[in-house]
């Protein structure tokens, strides 16, 4: 085990190197570029024995990964923003084909207006793609989840592609000390991919990515839904196995921080959860009963676990770094539905922040908690609030 001072993008590259993919298909897009650059260096110096293919577009990057996976080899690719939307039709393709591809997405805003900075507009578009979606908080988690992603994806009962999401720039390009596990330990945790049942082999020829007419299509989809929902238990199991072996547990589908007696809880994803914890600790010192729910996976959605944690909370805020125009943030929609289905009806507030890389400061987070606490004590708050706006609305 070695410690390196690296950025989020680097950490993903290290995780990929340790995961030993057979083929990497690479197309650059800010702010994912450092990952694909670093991977090319690993291939060049021989520390990563993978074929590195310089594809000519993002659509081809995922299409290539689909080809690799179709014959039972381990594939990796990465993208962001416009690139994710360009390859969009290939995402449900990969999930419908049940291919255990791992793809890192550097979450970045979507044109228009153009922005290279981080928000979650991109991955929110693909919530319906059938991919497992995990959001990481820091570079260590980025490395760890890249490895875990393969283990989850390649589990026979799962066999679904996994999207590992990092906040653009604030995580992809910031530096921290990261533990790089030893290759032998990772090999133990993540053995060579076993030929999936649905791959093409010379011994057992198959037809892949087929059509299903209206008498069988529904059943194919239902099977995919059932298997995606059942992946929750595998996600939890792999989290525990990883923790047992490497000493870092992440809580599985979500991590609840100080929620047991909380009156107000902020639900958030990604790097902002780190800052939120610090603000929360300060508020707790002031006697405020606040909690943080770090949603790690948005798909599958942890309805039951979320409801369990929020059961007695009076006010729940959901921070979305995206918006569905004409409606609200998508995580807010998902959380509200989960709460209603579970018969839990706290006050809920949607905080829309971070769009186009707008900073979310400790003060902003404090104000979010204060709004929630006000709501918890009966003062109705505006349902949709923007964070850190620079002009009058």
């Amino acid at each position: 085990m070695v410690k390196k001072f690296i950025c989020g993008d680097d950490a993903v590259a290290e995780g990929v190197r340790l995961a030993r993919p057979h083929v990497i298909s690479a197309y650059p897009i800010t702010p994912q570029t450092v990952t694909v650059e670093k991977l090319s260096e690993f291939v060049e110096d021989g520390s990563l024995k993978a074929e590195y293919i310089h594809v000519e577009s993002e659509h081809s990057a995922l299409a290539c990964a689909i080809g690799v996976s179709s014959v039972g080899a381990r594939a990796f690719t990465a993208t962001s923003s416009q690139g994710l939307l360009y390859m969009a039709e290939n995402l449900p393709y990969a999930s419908g084909a049940r291919m255990p591809i791992v793809m890192m997405v550097a979450n970045r805003s979507i044109a228009l207006p153009w922005s290279i900075y981080g928000d979650q507009m991109d991955s929110m578009f693909l919530l319906n793609s059938g991919w497992i979606q995990v959001y990481v908080e820091d570079a260590q988690e980025a490395l760890d989840m890249t490895i875990q992603a393969y283990k989850i994806a390649e589990t026979r009962e799962v066999m679904l592609p996994v999207m590992v999401n990092l906040d653009g720039f604030v995580l992809t390009h910031t530096y921290e000390v990261v533990e790089i596990p030893a290759q032998e330990m990772v090999d133990n945790f993540l053995p060579t991919i076993k030929m999936p049942d649905n791959s093409m082999s010379m011994e057992d020829p198959k037809s892949l990515c087929i059509s299903a007419g209206n008498t069988t299509n529904l059943e194919f989809r239902i099977k995919q839904q059932i298997d995606t929902e059942n992946s929750v238990s595998v996600i939890e199991k792999v989290d525990k196995e990883f923790g047992d072996m490497f000493g870092r547990y992440y809580g599985g589908m979500l991590e609840a921080y100080q929620c047991e007696d909380a009156e107000a809880v902020l639900v958030a994803t990604g790097s902002i959860t780190g800052t939120s914890r610090i603000v929360l600790d300060e508020l707790r010192k002031e006697g405020k009963k606040v909690g943080l729910l770090k949603l790690r996976y948005l798909r599958p959605f942890p309805t039951a676990k979320l409801a369990e944690i929020l059961e007695n909370v009076k006010a729940v805020g959901v921070l979305d770094k995206s918006i569905s125009f004409g409606y609200e943030g998508s995580i807010f929609t998902n959380v509200n539905s989960a709460l209603l289905q579970s018969g839990i009806m706290p006050e809920t507030v949607n905080f829309i922040g971070g769009l186009g890389g707008r900073d979310i400061t400790k003060q902003n987070i404090r104000e979010m908690f204060e709004s929630l606490l006000a709501s918890a004590s009966g003062e109705k708050q505006q349902t949709l609030q923007y964070v850190n706006v620079r002009c009058k609305l």
């Binding site: 084909a97 049940r98 291919m99 066999m159 057992d204 198959k206 087929i210 069988t216 099977k223």
Partner: protein, 102 residues
């Protein structure tokens, strides 16, 4: 006759029996094309010189040359007429399909 054969098939009666992913094993023919025909090719073996042109040009590959005489797989012949048209000695005639159904 050595052509891929029709397989007996039942759609799965339970979700768990559906394939994982949009997948199926190859070489899995579950329906024939015979019903498409308005005409069917008939080989006059006495005229056939075994040049195998019909075998070569059939878009569906239903002419079988594995035996001592050319045979047509009528399960999968669509009656397109290419074989009859291309036969240099006019050994193949397109006959009305309705003449063959009881």
């Amino acid at each position: 006759m050595n052509k891929p054969k029709l397989k007996k098939w039942q759609d799965p009666d339970e979700i768990s029996k559906f394939p994982m992913g949009a997948t199926c094993k190859s070489d899995n023919l579950t329906s024939i094309n015979a019903g498409w025909r308005t005409f069917r090719p008939v080989i006059d073996q006495s005229k056939c010189i075994n040049c195998l042109r019909c075998f070569l040009v059939c878009p569906d590959g239903v002419i079988d040359k594995s035996g001592s005489e050319l045979e047509i797989d009528y399960d999968f012949c669509k009656g397109c007429g290419v074989c009859a048209f291309e036969c240099k000695v006019k050994a193949i005639t397109m006959k009305k399909e309705s003449d063959f159904n009881g």
